[in-house]
Subunit: 280 residues, 4 copies
Amino acid sequence: MKFKLGCTLNYNVESLSTFVFNIRVVETDCQKILTEQLIIDPDIRIDEYVTPIVENRYFRVNVPGGTNLNIFYQATVEMNHFYGDANTIAEVQPADLPVETFHYLYPSRYCESDRLHQLALSEFGELTTGYSRVTAICNWIYEKVIYEYGTSNPHTSAFDTATERIGVCRDFAHLAIAYCRALNIPARCVAGYAYGLNPPDFHACFEAYLGGRWYLFDATRLAPQNGIVRIGTGRDASDVAFATIFGDILLNKMDIFMEHIPEGNSSEVPELTTEAISIS
Amino acid sequence: MKFKLGCTLNYNVESLSTFVFNIRVVETDCQKILTEQLIIDPDIRIDEYVTPIVENRYFRVNVPGGTNLNIFYQATVEMNHFYGDANTIAEVQPADLPVETFHYLYPSRYCESDRLHQLALSEFGELTTGYSRVTAICNWIYEKVIYEYGTSNPHTSAFDTATERIGVCRDFAHLAIAYCRALNIPARCVAGYAYGLNPPDFHACFEAYLGGRWYLFDATRLAPQNGIVRIGTGRDASDVAFATIFGDILLNKMDIFMEHIPEGNSSEVPELTTEAISIS
Amino acid sequence: MKFKLGCTLNYNVESLSTFVFNIRVVETDCQKILTEQLIIDPDIRIDEYVTPIVENRYFRVNVPGGTNLNIFYQATVEMNHFYGDANTIAEVQPADLPVETFHYLYPSRYCESDRLHQLALSEFGELTTGYSRVTAICNWIYEKVIYEYGTSNPHTSAFDTATERIGVCRDFAHLAIAYCRALNIPARCVAGYAYGLNPPDFHACFEAYLGGRWYLFDATRLAPQNGIVRIGTGRDASDVAFATIFGDILLNKMDIFMEHIPEGNSSEVPELTTEAISIS
Amino acid sequence: MKFKLGCTLNYNVESLSTFVFNIRVVETDCQKILTEQLIIDPDIRIDEYVTPIVENRYFRVNVPGGTNLNIFYQATVEMNHFYGDANTIAEVQPADLPVETFHYLYPSRYCESDRLHQLALSEFGELTTGYSRVTAICNWIYEKVIYEYGTSNPHTSAFDTATERIGVCRDFAHLAIAYCRALNIPARCVAGYAYGLNPPDFHACFEAYLGGRWYLFDATRLAPQNGIVRIGTGRDASDVAFATIFGDILLNKMDIFMEHIPEGNSSEVPELTTEAISIS
């Protein structure tokens, strides 16, 4: 399945400011970049940083005051989704987890799995383990948490959302991640482009490590799982903000776009599914 | 039903200290003091304060340094419980609530009903209203929250317990109160002597205002509801601590005792019940 | 000093709703109501509730759906301020406090004095006790906390503000109250009309119990202390909201007004002052 | 300067359990391992994991039930401290920071720099920037936060400590880290062996990125900075726990030891210093 996606970001920069952007998609075994274009206007040198292992592609731009900064990013991406059999995907015990996944068991700023331990046990501890347990977590959140813009803020964490029961995509992801970690399932935050999101926006969902690989989940049901293209992964949203900005700026415009590129020989289309999908 | 109850408290007082005790039982339409004895050794003058409306009976003692302070309190109390029909007790709408009960709808230190609003709605919003809804809240807490000494602390609040799902009697009461208030049911904290509590201790439970009066509830199921004798009520435990102490002291001993006094002509005995009981 | 003050509140009431208003001023030894007018349009019966001791004057209105509700309140008030000598006003030890003031030492929803104990000791524990210590608390807050609309929300408490250092008048009052209580100084929240507030609004400040009476403090410095007329007092803002509303409504208009009525024979004018003022 | 250090850990393992240990020291430009010994009794295979960049040396052991597990670790380490000139070490602006240090500007579980932003600005925002500002942060914490065992718990975070003003070494480190990040100074948690710590224990302190490298700071003043040997670094204590355990175990014994090995030709001794030291 192929997508054309990207964004335009436009800022007024009042005084010398530093931007760290995280808007370019990564390459994985399942996600291949066919074409890519990044236009920075005015043409300012960028410093790139690719994180070890997960290979997020951050770049920094230092912008003088008085600049109107325009960032245009566009890529065409081919997704070769890995489809697992949801019925047979097991949880991996700590004894067998790849040691590098342990960091995704630890609590993070917005996913206080340590404080959610009893709640996770009480709600999900008795369930059959495996892929279906993470699905149950997603269903629980979908059913019990209200999706509403403007109800949470950048400080809102899973501990808040567990009780306040209202939030947006990052809050849904954070709560799911915290629940997974509390049950000893490694989980991490995914920032991405999401097909069909209305209004278009950057999206946050999550991956859980099950049956030997990272599977994609989205408790919001706002986008088809096979329509999500990864920008980056991290412990939580603090790692994968699309922009971290130091300075005095004004955001004028933020347009995100994403199209499905139909292919003659493929019947796969972006759709909500209960199949187990991995893009890692 | 009659009870003999009381306590012995013994403190070493290192330097001039002020104690505010809240250990004497109140009189209500349902709770009559037959005999009562308060012995303070050494014999220090007390300042009494009876709160308006709910008539908690605080007393203050100022104790010089170097004192071994012994407080002995004993009372025999006759309880004439009001038994309502749980099936017909309705919630009272804000339009009809006595205006003085509104204060028990507001959030308090340990019962952040404002932050628990969505959670309460999500868990109990669809239930049939009335006495049974408060019972459902108690059952929910009993089933989902672990009762274990030493797991919470004096700062623990309903917002914590909603997620941490572990605590002691005051945590159970605070969570229930917060849920009730979030559903517009006035609720308040009850401190009391509780028959059969093992080990003997001061107990915390709660009252909800339903069908025109305050009914007693206890989500811990650790004592029979008709075996609870009220010391005081308040917004939460901050109002009804058995002792508030200013100074440098050491608690040596705290013995609480309570006996049922059998009566020839009564078949009522202290027992766990699903009947609606009021002691107000 | 005389003031004419009041408010107009206008609501669209979509469905049967209950309002509890707290907009009328109280009478105290220092605050006398000369004239008063309350017009409710349409003319709906009110239920009044005057709280014990502090005598807040709540009233409830039950309003049918489809109503445009207009509340007009106006009063002329004569203030006979008690002026104390700030240099000689001492703190009152727990041994000597009137027992009914102890409730204002306990933590409340938005004033978690229990959690602020060490911070209060660290910042103010070494200062000379008395009126000047509460002034020091006010100065600390004025200097370290930024006053900015829209930065806090109804859940924000003193524990948040102690660290986040930004908020509005109720946040300033809550933090000051929490600090006072942590230092064993009874403190309570005051809701009132405030002369010269720009834009006009209901105001929150606080009183501390010192030298045998309640003195008025305002860490915001946004209004002259002798220009504040009390609506009510409570443990914190949860007790003295100007309106508590149950139902589906829309606030159309909220106008608050306050004028100083000059008197020929008085030289007292509303002004910021460092004198110790009591209106209780 | 040379040290001999290590630990003995003894556990009763009730049922099949997984341990991830983080007790071995790392090698850096300043820290060289001369000899090293790890004895696991019974002799169970370990899985090692060295993290990218910072090279923490985690290892996992899966231990059958019924085992008495004994871990003995010992190393001799040569420290070649980098000494900077505290007076000339500047902060590095976001425009010039190595992009891989940005992760240490983001908030983490126990270092909510996002919520401490205003507090950090209020307390340290006006100070001269550079090494001395981080020293000022350490002094502030040393002076205002009480060091006392048993006063904090594993959930305690910088946001709590900022107000509660009491805690242990990890709380001191977390608060300092949060302050640094709030001021745009990258900061990270260091777990290590600390010379002269009494009682001997694993220690937590922190590093701040200044003047182009990571400098070591310890707000507790409980150990000489040049007597600290690094086990690992991470965003906060959640990354560098000495043991993460999945299973039912009992810790019998935990002995940490550390000796200074005098060298004839060196006058450097472990001592509290105000010099700028780096071990990275």
